[in-house]
C-alpha cells in the first residue's frame, strides 16, 4: 500500500511539471511586458508601463491593431450567419450529399494552413483583393466557418426539432419559427461559434502574411515580422493584451453556456 501511494505522489509530481510546462510560457510574457529594460531579461530588473505606451504611441502598431479588430468584427458578423444557415441545412436535410457538404465545410481545418495561404494569395492576385480589408475578411470567413459549423451543429443536435415543427404547424413561416423558437434555444452554441470565429480571425497569421500589406497589415503580421527581425518588449505588451482578450472572451463563452444551462 505504501508503494502505491508513493507512485501516486510521483505521478502527481510529473503531472504538475507537465502542467507547468503548459502554462508558464504563457504567463512569463506578462512580467516581461512590464519590464523597464530593452532586453528580454527575466525577471525584469524594474517595472514600468513603457512598452504599453510604446505600443499606443506607435502609429504603425495602432493601425495594425485597428485593422485586426475591424477584420475580426466583420468576420464574425458575416461568418456566423453563413455558418448557422449551413449548419441548419445540414441538420435538417437527409440528402445523400449532406455528408460531403459537411466535409467540405471542414476542409479549411484539414488543409495545411500554408497551402491555404498560397491558394488565397493566388486568387487575390488575380482579383485585386491583395492588401485589402475585404480580402482579409473573406479569407477569415473561410477559415472561421469550420468552427462555426462544428459548434452550431452540436447545438442543433441537442435541440428538439419537434418544437419548430409545432410553431410551423401553428402558422409561423419557417424563418420566423427559426428565429423565435429555435435560435433562442441554441443561443449558447451560436455565441461560442461567434467567439471561436473572432479569436480565429484575431490570431490568424499565415494567410495574413501572404495577403495583407500596405496600409492594411494585421497585428499578427507585424508581430511576425518584428519577431523575425528585432525583438523588443513592445511585442510582450501586445502579447499580454492579446492573451487577456482571449481570456475575457473565453470567460464570456463559459458564462453564456452556464446561463443557457440554468435557464
Amino acid at each position: 500500500m505504501k508503494k502505491f501511494t508513493l507512485s501516486r505522489i510521483v505521478f502527481g509530481a510529473i503531472v504538475l511539471l507537465i502542467l507547468a510546462f503548459s502554462i508558464l510560457p504563457v504567463l512569463v510574457i506578462i512580467p516581461v511586458s512590464f519590464s523597464d529594460t530593452r532586453f528580454m531579461t527575466f525577471p525584469p530588473p524594474a517595472y514600468s508601463l513603457r512598452w504599453y505606451s510604446a505600443f499606443i504611441n506607435n502609429p504603425a502598431w495602432v493601425a495594425a491593431g485597428k485593422t485586426s479588430l475591424i477584420v475580426s468584427v466583420l468576420t464574425v458578423l458575416i461568418a456566423t450567419p453563413l455558418g448557422v444557415a449551413a449548419s441548419y441545412a445540414i441538420d435538417q436535410s437527409n440528402h445523400w450529399s449532406k455528408r460531403y457538404i459537411r466535409m467540405m465545410l471542414m476542409l479549411p481545418l484539414m488543409v495545411p494552413i500554408i497551402i491555404v495561404a498560397v491558394g488565397v494569395f493566388f486568387v487575390y492576385a488575380y482579383t485585386g483583393l491583395l492588401a485589402s480589408i475585404t480580402g482579409l475578411v473573406l479569407a477569415n470567413i473561410m477559415l472561421g466557418l469550420p468552427y462555426v459549423v462544428t459548434s452550431v451543429t452540436a447545438g442543433l443536435q441537442n435541440f428538439d426539432k419537434a418544437q419548430e415543427m409545432v410553431a410551423r404547424s401553428l402558422g409561423m413561416n419557417r424563418f420566423r419559427s427559426f428565429m423565435i423558437v429555435t435560435l433562442p434555444q441554441i443561443k449558447a452554441s451560436v455565441i461560442s461559434a461567434a467567439i471561436f470565429a473572432f479569436i480565429q480571425a484575431l490570431d490568424e497569421t499565415v494567410v495574413a502574411l501572404f495577403i495583407s500589406g500596405g496600409q492594411y497589415q494585421t497585428l499578427t503580421k507585424r508581430m511576425f515580422t518584428a519577431l523575425r527581425d528585432e525583438i523588443d518588449p513592445t511585442i510582450a505588451a501586445i502579447s499580454t493584451l492579446l492573451t487577456a482578450a482571449s481570456c475575457v472572451l473565453i470567460l464570456l463563452m463559459v458564462f453564456s453556456r452556464k446561463a443557457a444551462k440554468s435557464a
Binding site: L107, G119, T205
Partner: protein, 302 residues
Amino acid sequence: MKTVAADLSSTTPMKTVSADPAVAHQWREQRLMLLLASPAILVIVVLLVMPLSWLFWQSIYADGFTFEHYRRILTEDIYRTTFFLTFRISVVVTLLALALGYPVAYAAAALPRRWSMMVLAMVILPFWTSVLVRAYAWLILLQHNGLVNKLLLWLGLIDSPLPLVHNELGTIIATVHILLPFMVLPLYSAMQKIPADLTLAGASLGGSPLHVFLRVFLPLSLNGVLAGVTLVFVLCLGFYITPELMGGGRTIMVSMVVSRNVELYNQWGAGSAVSVVLLICVFAIFYIVGRVIPLERILGTK
C-alpha cells in the same frame, strides 16, 4: 434484365410526377436546404477548392504537361532532406506530445470534477493564446541567457549555456508546447468514457495497478490516442510559424519550402508540386485513420 427494367420504371417517375405532394415537398425542402448552405459552400469553393485544383494543375502543366517538378522532389537533395526532416520532427513531436499528454489526460479523467476542470483549464488557456505569443515566450525562455539556461547553470547541470533556440531543438520544444492541447483533449474525451468500475473490477480480481492499467485502461483509451496522434502529426507536417521563428533559418520544413518558392523565388510550379505532395500525405493520413474512427471525432477538438 426484367428486374432492371422494373427498377427503372419505379425510380424515374420520382422526377417527372411531381404531382405527388409529398415528393414535391421533399424537392422544395432540398432546394431550400441547398440554398441555405450555398453561401458558405461558395466561400469555400472559391477560396479553397478552386485554388487547390489550380495548384494541382500548375504542378503538372507549364507550356505542356511536365513531371519535372515531381522528378526534382524525388531526386534533388534539398527536397528529400526537407521532407525527411519534416517527417522526423513530426514523429518526435507526436511522441513527445503523447508522452506528456497521456499523464495529464489521465489525471484530468481520474480526478474529481472540480480538479479536472482546473487541469483542463491549464491546458486550454495556452490553446487559445496566439501561436506568435507562445513562440515569443519560448524565445525569451530558451535564449542564451534565458530562464532555462540560467536554471540549468544554477542547478550545476551544465557549465555553459546550451544553444536551445534558433535550431531544431527550439523548434521541437515550442511545437510540442503548441500542439499539446490537441493531444490532451481527444485523450481526455476518450478516457472520460471509460467506466471507473472496470478498473475497480480489474483490481478486485487481483490485478496489480500496472497490470490493470495495461490490460484494461490502456486498450480502452487507444481511440483517443489515435485521434490525438493523427491530429498532432498532421498539424506538425504543415507547421509554418514556429519553425520559421524558432528554427533560426536552418530548420527548413516543407511549409517553408512552399512559402519560399512562392514568395521569394516566384517558382509557382515547384511550390505547387511540394504543396500537392504535402496535401496528399495529409489526406492519405486522414483517409486511413478515418476508416477506424470518424473524421468528425478527430477534427472536433480542433
